[in-house]
């Protein structure tokens, strides 16, 4: 990199040859780039490429063992590396930082408003408490937090993830910083909420003339959010282009590989539609009018309120099917999983597994049924008993159901390990040494060992990165071919569902708003919410549906006091009066597709009997 001494006056930030190491292991080597005022630069790279270390270095927030081993960071001409005192004085004033963990960002024992005022008066001592309060409330409204006046006096635990992230953005911008470092701020959020935050970032950049360094791990999100994209690979800057140019002519091999790996929603590539589903045989699992509510003592208010987690769920799953259940957080997916597996009893409706009602089975009968359907959980680190060796984990199900003797059990365990690709030497060791991918393989092996006929995957792949997800999907196909498993995939990742599932149900606020085959859902969605989901999904392809015309501003209503009529009415651009009074039920749209929306034409024959293809026995 050429060493031009005097940085151009209008560049806000210029980094020259920055290197950072942890102990003696280099993390960043020779990073150099400039950032003009009011511009948005996104930094993209795989896990471990050093993105967050770069963010922290710029915010002069490196704590041991990380230390800067070389180079300069010029902020408005003054080198932050050489003058740490000046750098610290900038923190919170000129350079603001918003992290990826909004929930833990504020002191739980103080109101959000008080902490905003405290921060503002810390960086602007001359400002009076009253002015600070007014400015904070004005900013809360600017980031579209509903009833900001009331929210000002509420505590951090009363904020949802999305709202807290907005509050943290206010906290960053309240001191009118010149540079805002956003470190992976959308990662923990739902797709629709993340999309709104990105829209907000653009507005604020225009309104506050603040330059933004946007760190994130998914290329599509980066391209949507920024003017220029900088690609980081193993601690080095490998490329920097505008989003359109990057997608069209990726310069560096790594970027090309990154783009190729990205699954697509609409363009070609192998997807679940091609899977044949055996319709003639009886449905392996049928869910009819399932409902479940939990009693929760609302914070502060007197009395107990009921959260209707699952309101009205209907679908059938056929043998050999890869059935997908998609929805954002809070839509009732995990409550549904607990009902399907009989961990909890439904308040209404029933779950038929091979003709038998799981919800009403006696505990003893339920335990026997367990052998024929199994669950694979989400958190690779949390779902394995932490202290028993791998062999014992695999043999436990056999011991519970008293299958075979010790020798047979050991052989069975070894066989299953081989099948899922776990090396035999791991039999004795503890799971703590395994990678996330290996742990999920162990989970699948544990579920498989009882030779179930149905496997329910609760967000099994969401904790893994792209490449690992691909390998496991191949494994699932292989196992399905050999053992004839039927899968139910519960997930919030549309791209994975597109690639794997033959039929998909979309859930919103406890209801199945749409059930459709793969191709039909992605190319002709029957429900506005499905369309909104597709519009917000991060993808590099040319979008079929633009978020502006699919989704109104605002958060989903709370499941405690649900509005009458269709739950999506408050956020649906096409909603009309009937939507706000009557809750549409699922109705056929032809070609085995169903949707619960009045926009679909009224079918001529009676409602109920067409809901499912085959009358259940």
């Amino acid at each position: 990199m050429a060493l031009d001494m005097g940085a151009a006056p209008e560049t806000l930030l210029s980094v020259r040859g920055l290197s950072v190491a942890a102990g003696d292991r280099p993390i960043l080597t020779d990073i150099s780039f400039d950032l003009a005022p009011r511009s948005i630069l996104s930094v993209i790279g795989a896990t471990g490429s050093g993105k967050t270390v770069l963010a922290r270095a710029l915010a002069s927030w490196l704590s041991p063992p990380l230390r800067v081993t070389g180079g300069r960071i010029l902020f408005r001409g003054r080198d932050l590396v050489a003058d740490p005192a000046h750098a610290r004085s900038l923190a919170g004033r000129e350079i603001a930082y918003v992290g990826g963990n909004p929930a833990g960002a504020l002191d739980p024992t103080m109101t959000v408003g008080a902490q905003l005022v405290e921060k503002l008066r810390a960086v602007r001592p001359d400002m009076s408490a009253d002015d600070a309060r007014k400015k904070a409330i004005r900013l809360l409204e600017a980031v579209h937090i509903p009833s900001a006046q009331r929210r000002f006096h509420e505590y951090p635990f009363q904020y949802s993830g999305g709202m807290m992230q907005r509050a943290m953005i206010v906290d960053a911008l309240i001191s009118d910083p010149a540079l805002l470092i956003a470190d992976n701020i959308t990662q923990p959020l739902d797709v629709t909420v993340a999309a709104q935050i990105l829209k907000l970032m653009r507005e604020l950049n225009a309104q506050f003339s603040t330059a933004i360094l946007f760190i994130c791990s998914s290329l599509p999100v980066a391209c949507d959010a920024s003017d220029e994209v900088m690609v980081l690979h193993e601690g080095r800057v490998v490329e920097r282009q505008t989003p359109a140019a990057l997608v069209a002519r990726p310069g560096h091999a790594y970027t090309r590989e990154l783009i190729a790996e990205l699954p697509t929603l609409w363009q070609g590539g192998e997807n679940g539609a091609s899977r044949a589903t055996d319709r003639e045989r009886r449905a392996i699992m049928s869910v009819r009018g399932l409902a479940k509510a939990y009693e929760v003592r609302a914070r502060g208010q007197a009395g107990i309120s009921r959260v209707q987690a699952v309101r009205n769920v209907d679908f059938d799953v056929f043998p050999g099917d890869n059935f997908g259940v998609v929805g954002e957080s809070g839509c009732g997916k995990s409550s549904l999983m607990r009902l399907l597996t009989g961990l909890e009893r439904p308040d209404a409706g029933s779950v038929f597994f091979e003709g038998e009602n799981v919800g009403a089975a006696s505990p003893k009968r339920l335990r026997e049924l367990r052998r024929r359907f199994q669950l694979v959980l989400q958190d690779p680190y949390g779902c394995l008993p932490p202290q028993s060796p791998i062999g014992a984990i695999l043999e436990e199900p056999l011991k519970i159901h008293r299958i075979g003797n010790a020798a047979e059990r050991r052989d069975r365990a070894r066989a299953v390990m081989a099948e899922v690709g776990l090396d035999d030497s791991l039999y004795r060791s503890l799971p703590t040494g395994l990678s996330a991918g290996q742990r999920q393989r162990l989970n699948v092996a544990r579920a498989m060992i009882l030779e179930p006929r149905l496997l329910i995957m609760d967000e099994t792949l969401s904790a893994l990165d792209q490449t690992e997800q691909g390998k496991l999907l191949d494994l699932f196909d292989k196992l399905q071919a050999q053992h004839g498993f039927t899968y139910i995939f519960i997930s919030h990742d549309l791209t994975m569902v597109r690639r794997v599932c033959s039929r998909i149900a979309v859930m919103y606020l406890g209801e199945t708003v749409e059930v459709a085959p793969n191709e039909r859902l992605f190319f002709d969605p029957g429900h506005p919410y499905s369309r909104a989901l597709l519009s917000a999904a991060p993808t590099l392809e040319e979008r079929r549906y633009r978020p502006e015309d699919c989704l109104l501003e605002g958060e989903p209503p709370s499941p405690i006091d649900l509005p009458p009529g269709c739950a999506f009415a408050s956020r649906c651009p096409h909603a009309f009066d009937r939507c706000r009074t009557e809750n549409p039920a699922l109705r056929a749209r032809g070609g085995h597709a169903l949707a619960a929306c009045f926009l679909n034409p009224e079918p001529d024959i009676g409602l109920h009997e067409t809901v499912t293809e085959t009358p259940h026995v």
């Binding site: 915010a59 927030w61 923190a91 919170g92 004033r93 930082y97 992290g99 963990n101 833990g104 960002a105 504020l106 002191d107 739980p108 024992t109 103080m110 405290e118 921060k119 810390a122 960086v123 505590y155 635990f157 906290d171 001191s175 003592r297 914070r299 502060g300 007197a302």
Partner: protein, 326 residues
């Protein structure tokens, strides 16, 4: 309003606890060998007379009947009469069985009411001393885990917790009061007599305060909102004193709640050593003289005070940390 509902529920639970406590102690005293009537009548009473008095007092009825009668009286605030102490409250013994003065005995409630304020004064002073010593060391240790202050906190708390209060009491009384004549030690003739016993009691409480604070302060300092606060532009003092201390106050409060029953244990022994006329000395003499109604009354009163203190601690905790909801 929320607080009324909370208080109602907690006082209800408290009532159940006090009921359980008095039931436990009541049966214990009746089941364990040693006939209370013989003790109460004392002297050379013939057995026939003992039986007659026992029947008259209803001590031969089934336990639950006696307990029902006892609780009935307790509800009207009458904790019964002491077996041994006359109305004047002196420790008496040796009068003959048909002695007229055995008639009017001191009311348990009066005896407790007389001595409780003294113990309260001792306990409060001890808690003040303990906090004065414990809080600085604990917080300082928590801010620098693993380094010198933390080590100091560890060593002081380990040593203090290893000093048995009765032994320390004797040694301090020997050194400070008798040899150096700095502090009066024995009996009670003014506030200054509370200092030495309070010091010994404080040594017993301080280690738990130190340990709780080091753990909770270190825990809070490790949390993300403290780490991020630095980048948000808050000064170190603001972070430590406004945020860290407030968050670590709740574990300390919970400790102080549980600490009360330990405190009373310590007060008991220390009042015995220093002949300090509080509830502790009254309890010990009550047990030594097998004065069952008095023991029972004290157990009920301490249980009631423990329940009230716990409710106060919980209320205070919700005031500090809104997430706690009881």
């Amino acid at each position: 309003m929320f607080i009324l509902r909370f208080l109602a529920r907690r006082l209800g639970q408290g009532a159940i606890i006090i009921f359980l406590v008095s039931a436990l102690i009541f049966t214990l005293l009746r089941v364990v060998p040693g006939d209370p009537v013989r003790l109460m009548v004392g002297g050379m009473a013939p057995d026939t007379l003992v039986e007659e008095i026992a029947a008259e007092m209803g001590l031969r009825d089934p336990i639950y009947v006696q307990f029902g009668r006892y609780m009935g009286k307790v509800l009207q605030g009458d904790l019964g009469e002491s077996f041994v102490r006359p109305a004047s409250g002196a420790a008496v013994g040796g009068a003959s069985f048909d002695d007229a003065t055995r008639g009017e005995r001191a009311k348990v409630l009066d005896l407790i009411a007389e001595t409780a304020p003294m113990t309260l004064q001792l306990a409060v002073l001890a808690m003040v001393f303990a906090l004065m010593v414990g809080v600085p060391i604990g917080v300082w240790g928590g801010l620098y885990p693993g380094r010198l202050p933390d080590r100091l906190a560890l060593y002081t708390s380990s040593l203090f917790v290893s000093l048995p209060n009765f032994w320390l009491g004797i040694v301090l009384a020997l050194l400070l009061s008798v040899k150096l004549n700095l502090l009066p030690a024995i009996g009670y003739r003014g506030f200054s007599y509370t200092i030495l016993p309070a010091l010994v009691l404080a040594v017993e409480i301080a280690p738990f305060i130190i340990r709780t604070l080091t753990v909770s302060v270190a825990g809070v300092m490790g949390q993300t909102f403290i780490d991020i606060a630095r980048v948000r532009g808050l000064s170190r003092n603001q972070i430590v004193f406004r945020h860290a201390l407030k968050n670590s106050a709740v574990p300390l409060l919970n400790l102080l709640g549980v600490q009360f029953s330990m405190l009373l244990g310590g007060v008991l022994v220390i009042e015995f050593i220093f002949d300090y006329p509080g509830l502790g000395l009254l309890t010990i003499n009550a047990v030594m003289q097998r004065d069952f109604p008095l023991i029972q009354g004290i157990a009920i009163v301490t249980a009631a005070v423990f329940v009230l203190i716990n409710i106060a601690v919980d209320l205070l905790a919700t005031a500090i940390d809104p997430r706690l909801d009881y």
